[in-house]
Each structure stands twice: as C-alpha cells, then as structure tokens.
C-alpha cells in the first residue's frame, strides 16, 4: 500500500550539557506491504524513532515521508500512520469503554450515523479476535492480551496504511504473546499493511519481519533481509545480540552448560549523552581495538561513512568478521570502494 521512509532523521532532547541525541541521522525504509523489525537495547532510540514518525517526538533534522508526503503535512483528520503502544494498561483510557476507544479513532466522516459506527466497531473487534459483545466493557475488565488487541483494533480504526508496533508484546505473558502475534501477522498479510515492528526480542522479530534493522546508540548499524541478517550478521553488535538470543535457547536444551561461556566485553553500556568517538560500539566490540590493538580506525573514523557500500549497510570497518559465511569475492569488491 504505502512506503514509509525515514530520511536522515535526528531527534534531540534537552540543550547545552544535558543535550541528548536520541536518534542520530537515521535513514530507514519500510517498503510497501512489508514488515521491518527494529531491534536494539533499551535506550538505543527505537521507540523515539517510532514516536518521531507519528509526531510524538520532535524531529530536529531530516524528515519522515509517507508515499512522498512529509508526515508533518498530512491532514490531521486522515491518519494513514497509526501506532500501537507497549503498555496496554496505560494506552487505553480507563474511563472509556473499549467501544468508545475504538470509535474515537475512526475518521469522523466515515460510517455515518451511530448504527454505522457501532457496526464498524464490531467489525474491528472481530478482526482482532475479540467478541463484539464486549464492546461496552471497560479496559479494567480485560486481560493484558485482550487490551492489546483492543489497542490494535483502535489503530486499525483509522484505516491506516502503515502501522508502528512499539514493543507490543513485552508487557504480556509469554503464554498469550503468540496469540497476539498471530493476529498481527494475519492482519498485516490480509490488509497488506506496511509495518515497523519494534522489539528487543530477536526471536519475535525474526518470526514477523521481512527486513531486520539493528539499532545501537541512536544509529542503525545494520539492515537487511531477515534471514540474511540472522544467518550472516555483519556488525559485531548484531552478532552479540544473536549470541545472547541463541544463548537462551541453548540454555533451554543444556542447562548449566551455557553459563560457563565467556561473553563479549563485560563492560557497561555507553552513555548516550557522550557517545564514543569513531565507531560507537568500539568500547564493547569483540573485533575492535579492545582485541586488535592495530584497529585504530575504529576510534578515529565513523563507520557510518560508506556504510551504504557494505553488505547490510553495516556501520563497521571490518565487516568481513562474518568470514565463515561471507563471500570473499564480494567482500573484496566492497572494500575496494
């Protein structure tokens, strides 16, 4: 349906010494009808980027473009860009019935008359697998998973072309997470929605996404087709994330074994107020100057330069780190640029 494009978007908070660049010159495209999964740790700027798209965080530089139109120029009443929030306990007004919450997000002109609106609300609730009989319930009477489905129905009420899902399962029990994700994926395919799916859970992102983007300290450090990125990660940070995620799976099968494994740099996360010079991951990088003393370039040069020429647009000077899988020829070609 529609393509959502972030063009060199920066978001800054505060000023002077307390200034914080939460999102730093991020460019990302959510292709029409596809799901882009955005992963990264807390504080990496994932949510800020999402909120920038819907106008909830101030865009300092660059722009967010939907189908060629700057989202800030979109008419207020027509909202082709909708968002589902992380916490279903705070994203629904406790004093409005779920029917009212969903109806509020419907375009005013559409579905003339109360009856029409009521029918539309019922249709939307059915779409997310909720009994339309529940339309007059208050959010307090529903479970977390049900509330999150109401929030999804509300997002769909605006007839969106793009949906941004910000950690929509992290407040839910794992036992109901699957049901919600099934609904999300079914609807995305059925309605051909474009989607930016944000999560810290790599397994969930892998299941849902066509494309994975990895964010670190306000920058996107790697982006590419999901299975490609997971099987041939280019950036060492992606590899660390992947190791942490497969680690848990590993642990499920072999208890107590995995504990002994050493992990990359036991250091503390970097301070977003004072991002490190050069490559922002270098103080933690297992293939950077910590390990290879000769790799001074990681401290002096920003790997974002020339990232477009590297595989997965990886922001790393030494992308051939994934040597066991990477095509040598292609690699040499890329480095020749």
């Amino acid at each position: 349906m529609s393509e959502l494009r972030f063009e060199h978007v920066s978001v800054r908070y505060g000023s002077g010494r307390a200034a914080l660049t939460a999102v730093d010159h991020v460019s990302l495209t959510v292709p029409s009808g596809q799901v882009v999964g955005l992963v990264g740790e807390s504080g990496s700027g994932k949510s800020t980027l999402a909120r920038a798209a819907v106008g909830l965080s101030p865009v300092a530089e660059g722009r967010v473009v939907l189908e060629g139109t700057d989202v800030r120029r979109l008419p207020r009443r027509h909202r082709p860009l909708q968002m589902v929030f992380q916490d279903p306990y705070s994203s629904l007004d406790p004093r409005m019935t779920i029917g009212q919450s969903v109806a509020e997000a419907m375009p005013r002109a559409a579905h003339g008359g109360r009856r029409g609106r009521r029918l539309e609300v019922a249709r939307l609730l059915e779409l997310v697998n909720l009994d339309p009989e529940r339309v007059d319930m208050l959010p307090g009477e529903l479970s977390g998973g049900q509330r999150q489905r109401v929030a999804l129905a509300r997002a769909l009420a605006g007839r969106p072309e793009v949906i941004i899902a910000d950690e929509i399962t992290s407040a839910l029990d794992v036992s109901v997470q699957g049901a919600l994700l099934n609904v999300v994926r079914g609807l995305q395919r059925e309605l051909g929605l474009s989607m930016l799916f944000i999560s810290h859970n790599l397994a969930v992102v892998r299941y849902l996404s066509d494309v994975i983007a990895v964010m670190y300290l306000g920058r996107i450090v790697e982006v590419g087709p999901t299975l490609d990125v997971l099987s041939r990660p280019q950036h060492p940070y992606t590899r660390d994330l992947l190791a942490a995620a497969s680690h848990t799976r590993h642990g499920l099968d072999d208890p107590l074994v995995s504990i002994a494994d050493a992990e990359p740099a036991d250091a503390e996360p970097a301070d977003p107020h004072h991002p490190p010079a050069g490559c922002r991951y270098h103080p933690h990088c297992p293939i950077g100057p910590l390990v290879h003393a000769d790799r001074r370039i990681c401290v002096s040069a920003d790997p974002a330069e020339g990232a477009e020429q590297r595989p997965h647009h990886a922001a790393c000077h030494f992308t051939e780190g994934g040597e066991h899988l990477l095509n040598r020829e292609e690699d040499r070609h890329v480095r020749g640029h």
């Binding site: 909830l56 909202r79 909708q82 968002m83 929030f85 004093r95 919450s101 036992s175 969930v204 208890p255």
Partner: protein
C-alpha cells in the same frame, strides 16, 4: 463503580456527620428565608439589644430584630456567596490550569509561569488585594475570593493533568488525530475529576470563612443585606451586653465550614487510598494437600509446608498463594516460574516476611535456617534476616535510595547487623562491590545510584545481599528490566555467588528459558499452587504437567517455523478471588476431563526428585501441543 465509591464516603462516621451537617445547612439555606424571612426583619423599637430570652433565643440587635432568626435567614446568602466564589475559583482555576495543554507551547509556558507566581502569594493577601481592586460590596467580594482561590486550583489541575497527559492513551488519541480540546474534555478532565471535586468542596468551606471575614471587616456584604460575617461584626459591638449576638453567627460559620471541609476530607481519604472494607469474614480453612517435604538429607535452608497468603478484597479473601510446600537446601539453585498472577512473587515476599497488613500469611511450617518464621517475634528475626537473607528485586532503579551514595547504602547493612564502624563498613562495601565485578569499586562506591547503569545497579544490589553471609538469596525477576546482552552477566554472577558462598538461590522469573539456563531445580507455579517440581535437566526431556509443556512450547526462538502460526495457551489464569473447584488449569488444558473440574490434584511424587499435581501426569503419549 464511581457511585459505589461515593456511597462509601457516606457510610464512614465522619462522612455521615458531614452529610448530615450539609443537609442541615442546605435545608436551612432553602427554607429559612421563606419561613422566617419576615420575622427576621421585623423591627421592634421597644426591645433593642436584649439578652437571650424564650421569645428571642439569641437576643435582639440594636433595632430589636431577633438575632436567632437573622442567623438562620442569613444561611442562604452566606452559602450562596461562598458557593459562587468557589465556583468562580474552580472554573477559572480549571481553565487556567488546563490551558497549557491546549495552547501552543510558548503560550502555555507563560500561563504556567503566571500561575506559579500567583501561588506564591498567601490567598488571604490576594483576597484583600482583589477586594480593594474590585471595590467594596458583594460582587467585589465574590470576585476577590474567587480569583484569590483560582491560582491554587489551577496549580492542582495543572499537576494532575500533566500526569494524565503523559500517559499513553493521550498519545494514542493524538496519533488518532483527536484534537487538543477534545482530548482535554474526553480524556484529561474525566480522569482528574474526582480529586478536583474533592478539592472544590474543601475550597467552598474556605470561601465561606473568607467571606465571613470580609463581611466582618465591612468590605463584604453591605446593609441592608446581611450574612454571617456581618451579623458577627454587629454582634461584636454588643458583646458585653449580649454575647449570644456574636456567638450565634460564629457557631453557624463553624458548622457550615465543618460540613464542607469534613465532606471533602473524607471523600479525599476514601477516593485517594481506596482501601477495601477490612471485614472479610474468617479465613477459609486450609488443609494441606501436598505431600510433606522430604525430611531426610541436609537440613533445608528454607522449608515451606502448606503456605497460604490471603488478602481481603471486596469482602472476600483473594488467595494468590494456596497451599504450597517446598524445600530449598544449602547451595541449591531453585527457579520458580509462572505467568503473572501465579503467586511466585507473593511467595517470595511471604518467605522473607514482607507481606504487610492486611495480607495474612499462614503455613504449617515456614522455617528459615531452622528458625520458625511465623512464631518468632520480629525483633528476634530481624538480625537473622538482615545477615542471612538477601533480596534482589526486579527494578534496580527503585531499590536504591536515589539521594545517598551506593557505598554508604551498602555499608549501612554492615553497621546495622554486624556492628562495624563507619570506616570498616565502607571498606567491606567496596570489597563486596569488587566481588560482584564492578570495575573501579572505590570510585563507584562514592557515586549515586543514577550514575550506575541498570545492570550495574543490579550487581550492586546483589553486592548488598553479600554484605552479610547469606544463606539464601531471593532474586525476584532480576533480569526482566535489563537488556538481553546484560541478562546473561547477571545470571552468571548469581551462579558464581552460589558457587563461592554456598548460598542457596531462589530465582523467580516469568521466563522459562532464564530459569532453565541457570537453575538446578524448577518449581512451576500456576494460580497459587506448585503444579510441577522437577530437576532442570528433566525440563525439556520429561515434563509431566500440561502447563509446563505448554510454557515450553510457547517460547518462540530463532528456529521457530515462520510459516506456522505461533503456539499460545488459550484463555487466561483464574483471578485469585475466583479460583474454580478442581484443577485451576482445567479450563485451559487439552487433557481436562470431569475429574479435573471437580477435584484439585495434590502435588505428588512421580519419580526421583519429581513432583507433579495433575491427574493425567502419566499420560506420556501427549506431547503438550496446543493451539
């Protein structure tokens, strides 16, 4: 629901008094001028300035008018003016207070600054100032009092609405294209309505007093109208002849003021605290159902038999923990896993004696290091818990005092429980920080909690537990708030602590992978009961309970088939005040039959070190697949 809450206001003793007084005052305000209006203005030249008598209960004034009647009749004007003034204050205050969320940002900032400045002045000073500005008289006084009360109200509204505006449902409405004014009316005001109404009620009482004051000073109501303040002023001139002339209006002011203030205060208490009624009937009888724990082998660090935790809720007992039995032996690493509401955290709190009144903890046995926790007085228990039991909580940002240095907070433990002096205690704190692998421990000890990252705070929390010589470390979701890359480090640290100190660890988590990865034994909890207790090594190989199997099946991983729908457990766990008869999992269980719906299975041994509470634990053909 809202009306029920207001009903509760009326049924409290002070609330009932307030309502009775208010009915009296309002009744008088409506009826008194109609019934006694003429009697109150009847001039009687023959009997000026008389003391109380059977004809004139409060005596007469200079013109021989009956003061008692005049006090009754003055109720209407006094109340009217007080209500008008406070209404004015509330309306102006609400408009000004919510303006910042509707106006453009720069204009909003100007409005809030203006409010902040106005709040700095005492309201009585403002009243006098405005009274002079608007001139002597009734209208002037109403405006003066109303406007003087507005800033305080605006400030309150502003604070309350800022809290609501920050919540996600307002953000969601904005994304949905709902206009600012509509957000204000539909989302913000309804959610701050109750505290505003309570405050307005209290304001009305204060306006009444302020009005009486102005009239008393002669800049409020002017003759021939009269309110209590004026009557008070007139009565004062003849106080040596007839004290009742001043007392009667004074009593009236006090009663009416009390009515408004009491009502507001009780409403605030009831709405603010939201406690349920304390009478919930007797605790239900709780016979033990599970097999008693194995008494052989080492003495357990923690022995729990038939533990129940109950909280009164709406006249009933909610029981988040319903009779669990388990033992933790020295050096053991036990994981407790279950969905939210399964009772795992409540169990941890009960074990460490952190359940507060009105919660009730009962158990046939609750022994920590051989000491019965329920029968030992708290004073004797505290030193034991302080040195031998360590707790690590989910949210490392709230478990430290943000205003004190980390090192000092750790040292305090040693000063309290080990009688160490300041210096040695701090040295031990630094040593413990080093023990939990915090780099540059000396420097870090001098820092404040906000200067630590989440993972580091969690380490420091573990370090605080190591200040004593813990026999048991209870870690309640220690990695849930942390990033995946840091989670492994914390779990590894816990394992190291266990290996080095031989402390037992009770790790509570909703994430079965976390538990499986670290623990030696796993307790699976569901709806307040342990449904399975098994060695971690058997978790993926021979789980017996359908719930355990389901929990394992629902975790997506990096090998999940992307073409198949994800597995989920249908339905939801029962609420702790509505536990069904029979097995609590029956409604969600693919194996459930008649017996499961009527009889609750006990936790019984099915193999070496393996206990299960399921009637179908032996149905090995089932692979626990559910849709």
């Amino acid at each position: 629901m809202r009306s029920r809450r207001w009903m509760r206001v009326v049924t409290t003793p002070s609330g009932a008094v307030a309502v009775a007084l208010l009915v009296l005052v309002i009744g008088l305000a409506i009826l008194a001028p109609i019934i006694w209006g003429d009697a109150a203005s009847e001039v009687n030249d023959s009997a000026p300035v008389q003391g109380p008598s059977s004809a004139h209960w409060a005596g007469t004034d200079a013109l021989g008018r009956d003061i008692f009647y005049r006090v009754l009749v003055a109720t209407r004007l006094s109340i009217e003016l007080a209500v008008m003034a406070s209404l004015l204050g509330v309306v102006v205050g609400t408009v000004v207070g919510t303006a910042p969320s509707v106006l453009p940002r720069w204009a909003g900032r100007w409005v809030s600054s203006a409010v902040n400045i106005a709040v700095a002045f005492p309201s009585l000073l403002l009243v006098l100032f405005f009274a002079v500005v608007f001139g002597v008289g009734t209208t002037g006084a109403v405006l003066a009092i109303g406007l003087a009360f507005a800033p305080g109200f605006a400030r309150l509204t502003q604070t309350l609405s800022a809290a609501v505006v920050g919540r996600d449902f307002v953000a969601a409405a904005r994304v949905a294209g709902v206009g600012r004014l509509r957000i204000l009316v539909r989302h913000v005001l309804p959610n701050i309505g109750e505290p505003l109404v309570v405050n307005a009620t209290i304001n009305a009482g204060q306006a009444l007093l302020a009005f009486a004051g102005l009239s008393f000073l002669g800049i409020g109501v002017q003759a021939p109208s009269y309110d209590w303040g004026r009557l008070l002023g007139e009565g004062l001139t003849q106080i040596y002849v007839n004290p009742a002339a001043a007392l009667a209006p004074a009593v009236a002011v006090v009663i009416a003021g009390l009515a408004f203030n009491l009502l507001g205060e009780t409403a605030a208490a009831v709405i603010g605290v939201r406690t349920g009624p304390t009478r919930s009937g007797p605790l239900p009888a709780t016979p033990g159902r599970d097999e008693p724990i194995d008494a052989s082998g080492d003495q357990p660090v923690l022995a729990v038999e038939n533990l129940h935790v109950a909280f009164p809720r709406d006249g009933r007992w909610a029981t988040p923990v319903r009779g669990i039995s388990f033992a933790v032996r020295p050096g053991e690493f036990v994981g407790v896993v279950g969905e939210s509401g399964s009772g795992k955290s409540v169990t941890a709190l009960a074990v460490s004696r952190l359940i507060e009144h009105p919660g009730v903890v009962t158990a046939d046995r609750l022994d920590f290091a051989g000491v019965p926790m329920l029968s030992t007085p708290e004073r004797e228990l505290r030193p034991l818990l302080g040195t031998s039991l360590a707790m690590v909580f989910q949210d490392p940002t709230t478990s430290f005092n943000p205003t004190r240095r980390v090192g000092r907070q750790l040292a305090e433990v040693a000063e309290q429980h080990q009688d160490l002096r300041r210096g040695p205690a701090l040295a031990r704190a630094v040593d413990r920080l080093r023990a939990v692998r915090i780099a540059a421990a000396e420097r870090r000890a001098g820092q404040y909690p906000h200067e630590f990252s989440g993972g580091m705070r969690q380490r420091a929390m573990i370090g605080m537990g190591l200040m004593g010589t813990p026999k048991l470390v209870i870690a309640d979701e220690p990695t849930t708030a942390l990033d995946v890359t840091v989670q492994g480090q914390i779990l590894r640290l816990l394992s190291e602590v266990r290996a080095e100190t031989d402390a037992a660890i009770l790790l509570i988590s909703h994430d079965i992978t976390v538990v499986a990865q670290t623990c030696s034994r796993i307790l699976v909890m569901y709806a307040g009961r342990i449904v399975e207790d098994l060695p971690a090594a058997d978790l993926t190989r021979t789980p017996r309970h359908p719930y355990t199997k389901a929990l394992l099946a629902v975790v997506p991983d990096l090998a999940t088939d992307r073409e198949q729908p994800l597995v989920a457990i249908a339905g939801r766990p029962p609420a702790p005040e509505q536990i069904p008869a029979g097995c609590a999992f029956a409604a969600r269980c693919p194996l459930a039959d008649e017996r499961c719906r009527t009889d609750d299975p006990a936790l019984v041994q099915v193999a070496q070190l393996h206990r299960v509470a399921c009637w179908h634990a032996d149905d090995q053909h089932d692979q626990g697949t559910m849709g």
